[in-house]
Assembly symmetry: C2
Homo-oligomer: 400 residues x 2
């Protein structure tokens, strides 16, 4: 077991133990936001017929400037009843199949109707407003690549080529096991020396934000028996996340419980603040994380480690999202570990501005409620003046 490693080594160890999830077939719309585990091919040419791109008249180019007879009409979805001969035209709707012999479609706005004839404009370019059969995709061509994320535009294409279900990398299922005798749950009123659980709800929210189902929420008392029961119940999930019970206290039994379960502990304690007690273990079927119990430690460790593992399993990009911002005020930092300072990034007229929010300890989530980023400071003592440009990492979604 590795101890007191740096945060980059810790993340690399997590990622090197994380494998892509198995593929599963899901209905197309459920695949939104997931990554395709199969490539998809065009089932026929697209467009499947020479398609009119405008409401107007299907014509031959030699008839430009002439008065031609309107010999028919094709609505979208209908089969043209005749082919086009010189000196004639056919009224046609956007999306309709062009009659055989069509060389261009002239939009309604450019012709003059004179009884049963129309006067065509003097210049008509060949193929104007006609999408020729197969010009967008040929039958059999790849229209969507394996390993790409399924967006609304992808769904548009996939629906059009007849995909009703698609194979995607399965999102992992998670269990969250809270620990700590000081916690009360659900509607229970906390006593004088107890508090309501908040990590369970927060982690469930972080998990939901990644597009996953809500986790199985369990609570364990501070005993090896209770922890063993919880981990057994959690064992049908691919990822098990503990909060609390990983620090120095006499009741911090999570490392022992994880070992008793048969998992091998990859590392315990990371040289970072917050989040020093972080534990990471694995079995052949599970990734197990022991997050510290303080809300902001738990939040950061989920964001930096657990969410990267989840994204890797789902085939998504998992690197941090960086940005540059000016500091809104002086930032003084002092730690012998890598320090992650919470902050709020907002757009101002002349770029991004970051206001550090780290007040008090990692237990004080009240002070950090609007944070969406953190600034990473290497070990040592630092004083950054207001207006200094810093590189930050986003935590929440990209703000306006």
């Amino acid at each position: 077991m590795l101890k007191y490693i740096d945060p980059d080594t810790a993340l690399n160890l997590v990622l090197s133990e994380t494998k892509r999830a198995r593929a599963q077939s899901v209905p197309l719309l459920d695949a939104l936001g997931r990554v395709a585990a199969e490539s998809v091919f065009a089932d026929r040419d697209y467009p499947p017929f020479d398609r009119a791109m405008m409401d107007g008249y299907a014509v031959q180019v030699a008839d430009a400037g002439k008065l031609v007879a309107v010999v028919g009409e094709v609505a979208a979805g209908r089969t043209p009843s005749q082919s086009l001969r010189p000196g004639t035209c056919v009224a046609i709707m956007t999306g309709a199949a062009c009659p055989e012999g069509t060389e261009a479609v002239v939009e309604k706005e450019r012709i003059q109707v004179q009884g049963d004839t129309v006067l065509l404009p003097p210049n008509i370019a060949r193929d104007h407003h006609v999408a020729r059969r197969g010009e967008e995709q040929s039958k059999g061509a790849v229209v969507f690549e394996r390993d790409a994320e399924i967006t609304p535009l992808a769904i548009s294409v996939l629906a059009s080529v007849g995909v009703r279900r698609i194979s995607v990398f399965a999102p992992p299922r998670l269990a969250v096991i809270t620990t700590g005798q000081e916690l009360v749950f659900d509607d229970a009123q906390p006593g004088e020396n107890t508090i309501r659980d908040s990590n369970g709800a927060m982690l469930a929210a972080q998990i939901k934000l990644l597009g996953l189902k809500e986790p199985l929420l369990l609570h364990a008392e501070d005993s090896l028996e209770s922890l063993a029961t919880a981990i057994e119940q959690a064992s049908k999930m691919e990822i098990v996340v503990f909060t609390g019970g990983v620090s120095m206290g006499r009741f911090d039994l999570v490392p022992q419980a994880v070992s008793d379960f048969g998992a091998s502990i990859v590392f315990h304690k990371v040289s970072q603040q917050p989040g020093k007690p972080l534990l990471f273990a694995k079995t052949d079927e599970h990734l197990i994380f022991g997050l510290p119990g303080n809300p902001l430690s738990s939040y950061l460790c989920f964001h930096r480690y657990v969410s990267c593992a989840i994204k890797k399993m789902m085939g998504k990009p998992f690197s941090q999202r960086y940005g540059r911002a000016r500091l809104a005020r002086d930032l003084v930092a002092r730690s012998d570990r890598t320090l992650f300072v919470n902050g709020r990034v907002e757009k101002h007229d002349d770029g991004w501005l970051l206001t550090p929010r780290s007040r008090g300890s990692s237990a004080n989530h009240f002070s950090a409620i609007d944070c969406n980023a953190y600034v990473r400071m290497p070990p040592g003592q630092h004083r950054l003046e207001a207006d200094t440009e810093v590189i930050f990492e986003w935590t929440e979604g990209y703000p306006r």
Copy 2:
């Protein structure tokens, strides 16, 4: 009814007709990503007791450097059994309530245990590793403001102050009505001159991506009767979105059907490409959008107009997200309307790079499948060289 207005006027008209949704009470975790319609207050002081921030010993500062007797132990969640007197200390766990008289908590790593006594370090700062009752929040203080978005950190705080349900601005319910005789649905095999619907699935995905339920999907034939039936079925939703049937063709009956329903048409046709035929109408209870039937027109109009209305209803920021990127290749644009050129933005070593993807027409979604942004060009003719810096608007989520 306004005709052929510019895209900014169009968006302003949509927004000025869009009102915030009513508030609804939902379970806390369902409120993730929504905007609070009520402020939330601390139900008691936080922390509710003087809380130990480390595993160690509760001490008095005058005992620094002395050997003191360990007279008890307090685990988290327990009531301290005695108060602290000079010359004594109490073993204490992170999160536990400090005994009366505690002036500091000394972490385990800094003391030496000698039988039933411990040797304290020579310097102990008052209040070190103790979070005093009420120092994070006072009972009755606002812990979360109305109009703020509910993030995982907000859920952490809200759970801790006992919020089990919260009032949020209700997400609107949508109906999507596809039109066009050329469309086939579900498992039906398209014929020689027909194609599968893709707009219904794409719009459902765009709607889901905003955190809403899947829309009611309806299809109308190209007749006023069929359109009237569909709009009647859709009328229990706050937003009705048509695709197709708003252009110049003889079967483009959506404007008539919308008027027949009793809606007043605010505008029809916008000086933009793609998306010229866009229609916007309203009744006292509905916003009604008529999107053009081409996939990329429909996509852009949903993104630029419908999604902004949805976000405004939900109390969210609705302005476009801009960025700056270098062009990966020359961009030649020519239109008498405002042109929105699809592109793919990616991060490169030296910043963001945008590759324009606009090939062929707005019917060709194959060419735009990986687009996540567009460049907006004013009416006229433009030639931008590769490497020029352009301002772009994000469409999909923020990429890595």
